[in-house]
């Protein structure tokens, strides 16, 4: 049996006793036993490990449990894992809660965890974390409730991998991945494709007193104005993605609560495989060209914050106020950089954006105007989302406006957006060479010492400000609006906001 090494910076989990809210059973009779939740999009499917968006994540977080989750402050807290850490040999050890059972009554064992990891890493897998799971050299199961992961390569963020909403642990006997057997607080009881999903408390859920609400009924409201209207008219008790223009109205409404977090952000991506954006000077010129306040005001009704450096949240150890202004609005500097790059009179290019999303369109329109001011005449190419994804992956663009979020609040979560050496994706710049950024991201990932990591990530920001794998535009608030009487729910901070659905097990009226 391996001994746990407590030098890890990622602490042990809080026990079930420290659950945030206690409920009052005496009032249970008067309280509604159903929460009606307005989703922004229909989950294309509920396969546990395939990423199908945040709305699907919200539902999946209720029917599955991960090894590790978050508390309302965004700190890691064990879900299926009681505790975890590195052992002396440098392997990650997770100790499971023995009381956990699947919906079919089977106990959750280390074999299930092993099977889940192997399924995700399998040759034909389409799992979101397939690549990461392939970093696991082997999974050992010393006993029924201990899992030992031997990694091919050291990484400080392994526990964070297991917090993703596409990381639900599934019973090893499951065969149909459209109807896998999980161990979460809820089970899907009925649904109508494209319209609504109803989940009900799993009768054998293994955490006493949870979930607090018997039924959660998710209804899809694709139109943000209608979603807001449904909340205001009382059709819905809770909605996600409160439109920015409506946040003030929700705040002003005495019946409603608005919970927002500054999480996701907008950025400009480059095609670095061809001139002019293969030149970092030109990319820096773009970075200094856009006045971000306008985007915050127009696209987000002021419900955002300028992003003039790399997307590191203020208030985290990695944040540096100086570096955060590294790409501050300075058109004169932009012009100088352009001249230095050999484009004193600017040039004509294209700007790709998704037409369906107002925030993409608005950010693109404003960027276009400011780019024109320094001589970059960008023709706006508004395409449907599918085309946007396709052209992004294939590098069929010059400039692109995008909205994205970090994977998690550790700066390594930014690798997915900033590491341009990864395979082409629509949310990363295409073929931009940023070798120092990539190198420092890798270094930070492998470093376990907090102080050293802070330094590495500051260096990374410095490198990125010069290599410009992306140009940050604006942080945006991510908001949940809900009935004032609902307690126990919280919007998780920063990048975790869209994963707040996991806290619905603590939510209830009263």
């Amino acid at each position: 049996m391996p001994t746990l090494n407590r030098r890890t910076l990622l602490g042990a989990a809080a026990g079930a006793a420290s659950l945030p809210v206690l409920f009052n059973p005496a009032r249970a009779q008067q309280r509604p036993t159903t929460i009606r939740f307005g989703l922004s999009a229909w989950p294309p499917n509920l396969q546990p490990w395939v990423s199908t968006g945040a709305s699907a994540g919200t539902v999946k977080l209720l029917i599955h449990r991960r090894l590790i989750g978050f508390d309302e402050k965004g700190e890691m807290r064990g879900e299926l894992a009681r505790e975890w850490g590195l052992d002396a040999q440098g392997a990650w050890v997770f100790r499971l809660r023995p009381e956990a059972v699947f919906h079919n009554g089977e106990r959750v064992t280390s074999e299930d965890v092993k099977w889940t990891i192997e399924q995700m890493a399998a040759e034909r897998s389409t799992a979101y974390y397939r690549q990461q799971m392939q970093q696991v050299e082997r999974v050992e199961t010393p006993d029924a409730h201990t899992v030992r992961l031997v990694m091919k390569e050291q990484s400080a963020t392994v526990p964070l991998w297991f917090t993703n909403y596409n990381m639900g642990i599934v019973w090893r006997g499951s065969r149909d991945m459209n109807a896998p057997i999980g161990c979460g607080p809820y089970r899907v009881t009925s649904q109508e494709r494209g319209t609504w999903i109803e989940v009900q408390a799993a009768p054998n859920y293994w955490v006493p007193g949870l979930p607090r609400t018997r039924t959660i009924r998710f209804t899809v409201y694709a139109d943000e104005n209608l979603r807001l209207a449904a909340l205001q008219s009382g059709d819905m008790d809770m909605i996600e993605y409160v439109p920015w223009s409506g946040m003030a109205a929700v705040e002003a409404n005495p019946r409603l609560t608005l919970a927002t977090q500054m999480g996701p952000f907008m950025d400009i991506l480059f095609n670095g495989t061809r001139p002019p954006f293969d030149n970092p000077l030109v990319r820096r010129a773009v970075a200094h060209a856009v006045k971000r306040e306008d985007i915050v005001r127009v696209a987000f009704s002021g419900r955002g914050k300028v992003l003039e450096g790399m997307p590191i949240s203020e208030g985290t150890p990695w944040f540096d106020p100086e570096l955060a202004r590294g790409h501050a609005y300075d058109p004169e500097r932009s012009k100088a950089l352009l001249a230095q790059a050999g484009h004193p009179n600017g040039f004509a290019t294209t700007l790709l954006a998704a037409s369906q999303f107002a925030m993409h369109k608005d950010s693109a329109e404003i960027s276009q105007q400011y780019l024109a001011a320094i001589g970059i005449r960008a023709e706006l190419q508004l395409v449907d989302w599918s085309t946007r994804v396709s052209r992004g992956i294939r590098g069929q663009y010059d400039l692109a406006v995008h909205g994205v979020s970090s994977e998690f609040n550790d700066p390594d979560g930014l690798s997915v957006v900033m590491d341009t050496s990864l395979s082409p994706a629509h949310g990363r710049s295409f073929g931009v060479r940023a070798p120092r950024t990539t190198e420092l991201l890798a270094k930070g990932r492998q470093e376990f010492d907090q102080a050293k990591r802070v330094e590495i990530y500051r260096d990374m920001q410095r490198a990125a400000l010069e290599e410009v794998p992306l140009v940050g535009l604006a942080w945006r608030e991510q908001g949940y609006g809900f009935d004032r009487r609902i307690t126990g729910f919280a919007n998780l901070p920063a990048a975790l906001s869209t994963a707040s659905g996991a806290l619905l097990e603590f939510a209830a009226f009263g």
Binding site: N225, P243, S245, A249, E293, D294, R297, V298, A354, S355, Q356, A358, K361, D362, E365, I366, Q368, Q369, L380, Q381, L382, V383, D384, S386, T387
Partner: protein, 607 residues
């Protein structure tokens, strides 16, 4: 033409303003000024600023340019190609029809949004794509409308006539058929333009329309929706512009249609206009009361150039049981006179002066309700073209029975039996079966017999027959005239027979009124007039038509248009005997015994 003026000006104004956008002293429509975002009013921005702080008025006007260009061009493309395909399909039938109609069906099968999505995704969004999508979407509408209209126009007399003359197909299609289907196509066009602007906004709403920052009304509406609660006026302005444009387009298209369509509109409204006239100004004259006594009848039509008088100072008297013929070339006003007596004038025309006493009561000043009771009862009318004068969607027996029940309180089945009797009476073989036929299932002669049956259903004392045989074959003409003569004898009706055929006059009439250019030029007993015509026009008519069953030929020239009447004698320009005196002043109608003539030189020619 006045009806065209206002909406025409409005549309022209919109187009001009849109076209003049670059010349107007306005702020740049794409210039953002986020600091003044959603401002309600700013100096230089009377309509305020939008969500990007751009000038709303400027965007509205520039938006008109892109929106209207897209709407007009796409509707025009669809209209031209669609109408052409419809024309060809409807005219040639066969393969052309299959391709046109099925092609339209294929387009219609696609949900419009899907079509737009696919095309926009394939070609990328933009004005050109939008025009393509919209024109494809509206194509089927035009194909169908023009196809249907061509089908019906094909069988119309005027088309048949032009065809019979051997005109080339393209000429028939473009000169004869196209103007006649223009009405529905124009309506379709106005609908398409309006819908195009709205659809443009819908596609913009889905992110498939005009590419920002180019202003368009659709994009403005889309953008305003999200700030609707903070800045409602942003939504109002483009909607107002759109409403105004659509309204102007609709009215213009209606007006163009009415002008293109000579038949004019709105018959029922005129029913009321007439009944506002005061009843009976003149006391009835002493006995013996003539059946119909028309004095000084004048009809006016208001046209943009002023007022024309298709019937002027017309007088004649018909005694019971006699037949009076009104004869003249097309355009002489004879039919207008007849319809004014019946109170069936087309909407544009009105009786300006005169009296028409029917058994002593003035028809022209009688309340409409009272005159309606006379119509089809004591006085009836038979029209020129029995095909168009019968309602195509009702069985002929029902149409006859309807005439009976309009005047007598008879049960439906009794009326139907009586209708069959009437059909038998007008010489229709197998009346039981024919009563159940639709008009298009009968021959021309038979239809006219039905019309006559309808007219005599309530034993009228006066029958006005307006060219009852013109539209019929020669062999049938004689039979119909014979029928009319028989009926008159048996029923003792007075008949006013309107015709251009002197042969017909000689055959059936006792008195004759010759009309030329809205005036009576000669009047008298048939035998005398034919034997001793006093007016050069009458003489010319008699000379020109030896056998008397075709339009008069051989008189040089045509009847002048009502707005081009000469100041003196109206026949003078065509008269072989005209002198300077004839052109000086209009001649009066001079009475001589039971004859009357309107010619200053009649005495010189009197044989």
């Amino acid at each position: 033409m006045r009806r065209l003026l206002l909406p025409g000006l409005a549309v022209l104004f919109i187009c001009l303003v849109a076209a003049a956008a670059p010349l107007l002293p306005m702020p740049d429509p794409v210039r953002q000024d986020v600091a003044n975002r959603l401002a309600v009013w700013l100096p230089g921005s009377p309509l305020g600023r939008d969500e990007f702080g751009r000038d709303v008025l400027s965007r509205l006007i520039w938006g008109a340019q892109s929106s209207l260009m897209v709407a007009f061009i796409s509707s025009a493309i669809a209209a031209i190609i669609g109408t052409m395909l419809g024309l060809l399909g409807g005219w040639f039938r066969g393969v052309a029809e299959f391709l046109a109609i099925r092609g339209a069906d294929v387009v219609l099968c696609f949900p419009p949004v899907l079509l737009a999505l696919l095309v926009v995704t394939l070609l990328g969004p933009g004005t050109a794509t939008l025009i393509l999508v919209l024109s494809v979407l509206y194509l089927p509408g035009f194909i169908r409308v023009s196809f249907a209209e061509v089908l019906s126009a094909r069988s119309q007399d005027y088309v048949e006539a032009v065809r019979a003359l051997g005109a080339p197909t393209t000429r028939i299609l473009l000169r004869t058929v196209l103007p006649n289907i223009a009405g529905p196509v124009l309506v379709q066009f106005s609908l398409a333009v309006a819908a195009a602007v709205v659809l443009e906004s819908g596609l913009s709403f889905l992110g498939l329309g005009v590419v920002p920052p180019t202003p368009s009304w659709g994009l403005m509406i889309r953008g305003a929706r999200s700030t609707m609660e903070q800045a409602p006026m942003l939504l109002v302005w483009p909607c107002v512009a759109l409403t105004f444009t659509i309204l102007a387009m609709n009215i213009l298209c209606d007006a163009v249609r009415d002008v293109a369509d000579k038949r004019g509109g709105g018959g029922a409204k005129r029913l009321r206009l007439v009944d506002r006239l005061l009843p009976g100004l003149f006391p009835p004259p002493a006995a013996p009361v003539p059946l119909l006594d028309v004095q000084g009848l004048t009809v006016e039509i208001a046209v943009p150039g002023g007022i024309i008088k298709p019937v002027q100072d017309m007088s004649f008297t018909l005694m019971a049981g006699r037949t009076l013929a009104i004869v003249g070339e097309s355009g002489s006003g004879k039919s207008m006179a007849a319809t004014s007596i019946m109170g069936l004038l087309p909407p544009a025309a009105r009786v300006a002066d005169g009296v028409a006493r029917f058994e002593g009561e003035d028809l022209l000043r009688m309340p409409e309700a009272q005159r309606r009771k006379l119509r089809g009862g004591a006085m009836a009318m038979v029209f020129q073209d029995p095909m168009s004068s019968l309602n195509p969607v009702h069985r002929v027996g029902d149409q006859v029975a309807e005439a009976i029940r309009a005047h007598r309180d008879v049960p439906a089945d009794a009326a139907r039996r009586e209708a069959v009797e009437l059909l038998k009476r007008v010489g229709i073989a197998d009346p039981e079966r024919r009563a159940r036929a639709y008009p298009h299932e009968l021959s021309g002669g038979m239809r006219q017999r039905v019309m006559i049956a309808m007219a005599i259903a309530n034993k009228p004392r006066l029958l006005i027959a307006d060219e009852p045989t013109t539209a019929l074959d020669v062999t049938v003409q004689a039979a119909i005239l014979e029928l009319l003569a028989d009926l008159r004898r048996e029923e003792g009706m007075g008949v006013v027979l309107i015709t251009h055929s002197l042969g017909v006059v000689a055959e059936v009439a006792e008195d004759v009124v010759v009309m030329y250019a809205a005036q009576v030029v000669e009047r008298g007993p048939v035998a005398e007039v034919f034997a001793r015509p006093l007016h050069p026009y009458t003489r010319a008519l008699l000379a020109a038509v030896p056998d008397g069953d075709a339009e008069p030929e051989g008189i040089p020239g045509v009847v002048p248009r009502p707005d081009q009447w000469p100041p003196g004698c109206r026949f003078a320009p065509r008269c072989a005997h005209a002198t300077d005196a004839c052109n000086q002043a209009p001649p009066a109608l001079e009475a001589e015994g039971d004859r009357a003539v309107r010619c200053i030189r009649w005495r010189e020619f009197a044989p």
